[in-house]
Point group: C2
Chain length 104, copies 2
DNA sequence: CTGTCTATTGACATTTTGTCATTAGTTGCC
DNA sequence: GGCAACTAATGACAAAATGTCAATAGACAG
């Protein structure tokens, strides 16, 4: 989930972790401290979904790592979305079973 | 998820673990070996959501434990369903963001 | 030169999930 | 009687996911 959201953000342009973490909290995703975001980013980089490089631009702080979406990431995003649709189908099934007290 | 489905089944009547596991596979829920079902059942019993008793009826096998829904389980089921709706909302949000390339 | 904000990393604990062997009773076959 | 197959439940262990939080460190304001 977190990974999917981060890739959605990256698809709109490269960004660094701290920014992404801030955007998440702005957008109302709670309980996601920066550590989780950084871990997710590193994990996705290990998988080849995203790339990173140290930012050459002068920042008002320590050096920062800029992440951008890599081609395998586009594919991964599609797969994730497909998985989400499946999960949504399952949830619908369970909710329907709850309301109608029937079905599988 | 598994817990919710099991409670849905139990709402329709008491049953024992092996039966529930079989019903799950019948209904197309894959990757759920009996061990997972038994563990989920014991966990829910610890939470007071369900109750169990050894089956008095003669069975064609070893003694079996019959589970039934307890009143706190009804409440828990409602809470679970509410949670599912929330997750569903999140998924919708992410899928929409993926398709329209906009939003949070 | 101290505190604060930005930025990333790493260590550790907890929880969840998956796998699989073990125990054990019943039934049916030879 | 002995043995295999099926039913039924439990427990131990490993792996993966998640959560928490301290440590490091550059830049800037006072």
């Amino acid at each position: 989930m977190l990974e999917a959201i981060l890739m959605m953000y990256l698809r709109r342009g490269a960004a660094h972790g701290y920014d992404l973490a801030a955007r998440l909290t702005e957008c109302g995703f709670v309980g996601l401290n920066p550590g989780l975001v950084y871990r997710a980013l590193r994990g996705m980089e290990d998988l080849g979904w995203i790339r990173s490089a140290w930012d050459g631009e002068a920042s008002h702080g320590p050096p920062r790592r800029v992440y951008s979406l890599a081609p395998p990431g586009e594919q991964a995003m599609e797969d994730l979305v497909r998985g989400f649709r499946e999960i949504r189908g399952l949830i619908d099934k369970v909710i329907a079973a709850y309301e109608q007290q029937a079905g599988c």
